[in-house]
Amino acid sequence: MKNLKTVVLSNQEISPGYFRMQILAPGYNKLAKPGQFVMFRVQRSLPPLLRRPFGIFRVGFMPADCDSMPPKEFIELIYKVVGSGTEIMQRLHQGDPVELLGPLGNGFDLGVAEEEKILVGGGIGLVPLYMLAERMVATSKVRLLMGGRTRDDIITVTEFERLGVETYVSTEDGSLGDEGLVTQVLERKLDKYPKSTVFACGPMPMIKAVQKICFERGIPLQVSLEALMACGVGACLGCVVKGAGHTEVEPRYLCTCTSGPVFAAEDLDWGNSEVSTVVAGGCK
């Protein structure tokens, strides 16, 4: 864990409004675990003031510019342009200075090998699932259920397929894959593969629906959450979510940045809508 002053290697639009950025990141191949994130400093000057949290899509090595040099270690972010910070990000080019604080957070618990795994990704929520799939395909059957509003939200699915993941796409408008919600696909798959473990990341309404489905069937579930973050290291207490057993009298707040962003579903409080405001109340 450290702050890395580094540079952008590449930055390309992969689908309308979605970008893939590679960043030079020595050490990350060894350090980064599936589900971890970085606090990304978009540029040295203001705005924006705060860093932005982004999941690590994947880590890797790329050939150096000449043979005598060692390969370059990189991390890849995939981001959706939604506001001031990501608008600046989309204009960054190769060689532009940026900073990475990380890898941060706990990451996924890979669970038992051989067990069947279902990954549920809603739009940009797909990001942390790629490294997870990479680690699990060798020993487990992995199925990815990818949902989005329209076909533009369906990203990187072929890359999952190349890993050997079985993929199922659904869109709300039917422009790609099945028409409907990804959670409907999840119910069908769980009917067929009831012994699966589920890993989910996406918008809060999707996460909640996934939790309900898994809870009713007694299926183990891990979710990766988003929260407004200032520090990313457990110091500001801005990113809290309510933990299981939370009450007004005996509150139990967990930091998304250090106790998460991945939580076992049973460790969270699903009883009210408060969790959703963490994300919905973002400073858009």
């Binding site: 702050n3 705060l50 604080l101 407004l228 500001c236 809290v240 707040y253 405001t277 109340g281």
Partner: protein
């Protein structure tokens, strides 16, 4: 006028506040550096002038609902609600970690009543690892919290007087900027026995999501911090330095050495760095190095010569 003479190789950076010796005048602001441990992977705590811990109260405190933070232009609003583990757990679990460092620990604390303030101070008084107490009479987040004390000179005087009776540790009182005349509260707390004053805490502020027409913070109102507040903070430190004899610690929007220098030049003996830690966890180390560079360049042998050197 300070005359640049020749380059100074090793300027003296140490300062003293209320009897505590600091290696240099730079320390974190309470609530932005956790209990120190959170930032230890990123910055050497031995480098710092002091460590200031998250506000501690008599009983554990849950804090506010979310959203608790929101970025604004060159700043941020927060309404954390002073979430903390409570003084007993703090003493048991948090202070021990900091004892391994050769850096004084300043414990920020608050209460809902003056008796609570007194009780927390008393419990911290016997803890050897505590170098000084910083009494937050200014947090704008909690409905029945510090705000009453910090904006009412009589209440501030009474609370500080009570705390003064219950602790022999150096006592720093942290002032709120949300008052009409800060010199009045500054004098009241000095008269009540404060050994030093620190300022500013956050300025109350509010932001609205125009689409949902809801406040961006669950608490509606929050505290503004970051670069946006610096000119206000420098002005207030300048005014307080004129009004009191005790040393003053300057806080508000410091992210570079140049920012810290403004506070030192108007008369702050030390500075605290808050929001900038979130942006760059190594910010304080860069500031310390920058202060040293400045002294070298300007031919200042001892940073104390710079403090209060404002030309009017």
């Amino acid at each position: 006028m300070i005359k640049p003479t020749e380059k100074i190789l090793q300027p003296k950076m140490a300062v003293e506040i209320a009897g505590i010796k600091l290696k240099n005048p730079v320390m974190p602001a309470s609530g932005t550096f956790g209990y120190g441990e959170e930032y230890a992977p990123y910055i050497n705590l031995n480098q710092l002038g002091a460590v200031v811990t998250k506000g501690t109260s008599l009983n554990p405190k849950a804090g506010n609902n979310t959203p608790r933070i929101c970025e604004t232009v060159s700043g941020m609003l927060n309404a954390i609600g002073l979430q903390n583990v409570g003084v007993d757990a703090f003493i048991k679990d948090k202070i021990v970690y900091l004892e391994q460092f050769d850096t004084p620990v300043i414990v920020n604390f608050f209460g809902n009543t003056q008796e609570e303030y007194g009780e927390v101070a008393a419990r911290l008084n016997d803890v050897p690892g505590v170098a000084a107490l910083e009494m937050n009479i200014s947090c704008p987040n909690v409905k029945h919290g510090g705000i009453i004390f910090g904006t009412d000179p009589k209440a501030a005087f009474a609370a500080v007087s009570l705390v003064r009776k219950r602790t022999t540790k150096p006592l720093i009182v942290k002032l709120t900027p949300n008052v009409t005349d800060i010199q009045i509260t500054a004098r009241a707390t000095e008269d009540a026995g404060a050994d030093a004053l620190s300022l500013i805490n956050t300025l109350t502020g509010m932001a609205v999501d125009v689409k949902t027409r809801r406040p961006r913070l669950a608490n509606t109102i929050g505290g503004l911090s970051g670069p946006a507040i610096r000119p206000i903070a420098v002005r207030l430190v300048h005014q307080v330095v004129q009004a009191v004899q005790v040393p003053v610690i300057g806080i508000g929007g410091i992210s570079r050495a140049m920012d810290a220098l403004e506070f030192l030049i108007v008369g702050a003996k030390a500075v605290q760095v808050g929001t900038a830690n979130f942006v760059d966890p190594n910010a304080m180390a860069t500031i310390i190095a920058g202060l040293e560079d400045f002294c070298q360049e300007e031919g200042i042998a001892d940073i104390n010569d710079l403090i209060g050197s404002l030309e009017l």
